[in-house]
Amino acid sequence: MLLAYTDVGTIVFGWGITVAAIGGYALALVRRGKRLSRVVPPEDRRWS
């Protein structure tokens, strides 16, 4: 069905880049958070 759409390449690229950008940023945030959590004392991590 998707292949029959008009401008399918642009539509897929638009959705794909959105998923990649948000997913990539989310992953970077999680990784950076884990790294920083190791060097900051527990009393400064108060969101549990």
């Binding site: 998707l2 759409y5 642009t10 959705w15 998923v19 945030l29 958070g33 884990k34 959590s37 900051v40």
Partner: protein
């Protein structure tokens, strides 16, 4: 980078999180994954094609939520910048810094998805239209802000300069929003609320997409804020340690 009171190998306290995640963000994450799957199915499979735009309307479900929500982190950054100048606390500095980061992602995505949609509907990726140009300026201002945040300087001085730039974001966002009214523009007028004249199942698909992007914005903002907070605390720890070492060096007894 060093710790304030514990070494990297020390086990954290039982109740201290080892990441920026928490129970609420994990629940939010699951909702986002489920909502994204439903949104993708509705937007790419079941949504009707538009009479005029044909299937290009499927970019609407990505572009419009992104650009409509980008104003929130931009405004948050400016408000937090003003509050930092008044209160000078790490919390406001972290909020300003993290909001700018999230805003840059949303504004950047708005520009890219808008360019793709423009290529189909206008026949060009880019034109020096008032809406597009002002949005590009906002994106550049955000990149400048983020570059300032990474400049190796004394934390308070860096926060002060960043706050001044952060305050400039809201006038720029106002310019973006009203650009289509103030100047002749290729871009459509500012959207006001839900357009109930949308055909078929486009409105319900858009509502789901908008909801999912709201959840994404909340999740990213929470994690970005906690990251910024941790970075400030880690930097403060480094500074404290450097001062302690310097004082020990100055101590004729060698700190003994």
């Amino acid at each position: 980078m060093t710790t304030l009171t514990t070494s990297a190998n020390d086990a954290p306290a039982v109740d201290a999180p080892t990441s920026t995640g928490s129970r609420s963000t994990r629940i939010l994450g699951i909702l986002i994954l489920v909502g994204s799957a439903i949104g993708a199915y509705l937007g790419l499979v079941t949504s009707d094609a538009d009479r005029i735009q044909k299937d290009a309307v499927r970019l609407f479900y990505v572009h419009v939520p992104v650009v409509s929500l980008m104003y929130i982190p931009v405004i948050l950054c400016s408000v937090a910048s003003i509050m930092w100048l008044r209160k000078r606390t790490d919390g406001w500095d972290a909020l300003a810094s993290s909001s700018a980061e999230v805003a840059a992602v949303f504004v950047g995505l708005g520009l890219v998805t808008g360019a793709l949609w423009g290529e189909i509907t206008w026949g060009t990726y880019w034109t020096w239209d008032a809406r597009l140009t002002s949005t590009a300026l906002l994106f550049l201002l955000l990149l400048g802000y983020l570059a300032l945040r990474r400049y190796p300087a004394e934390p308070a001085a860096r926060a002060r300069v960043s706050a001044v730039v952060g305050i400039l974001l809201v006038p720029n966002a106002i310019l973006v929003h009203y650009s289509v009214s103030w100047w002749r523009s290729l871009h459509q007028d500012a959207t006001r609320g839900f357009d109930t004249t949308m055909d078929g199942n486009q409105l319900s698909t858009y509502a789901v997409a908008q909801g999912v992007f709201v959840l994404i914005l909340v999740w990213l903002s929470i994690h970005a804020y906690r990251n910024a907070w941790l970075a400030l605390r880690a930097e403060r720890g480094d500074l404290d340690l450097a001062i302690a070492r310097r004082m020990a060096d100055d101590d004729p007894t060698g700190g003994i």
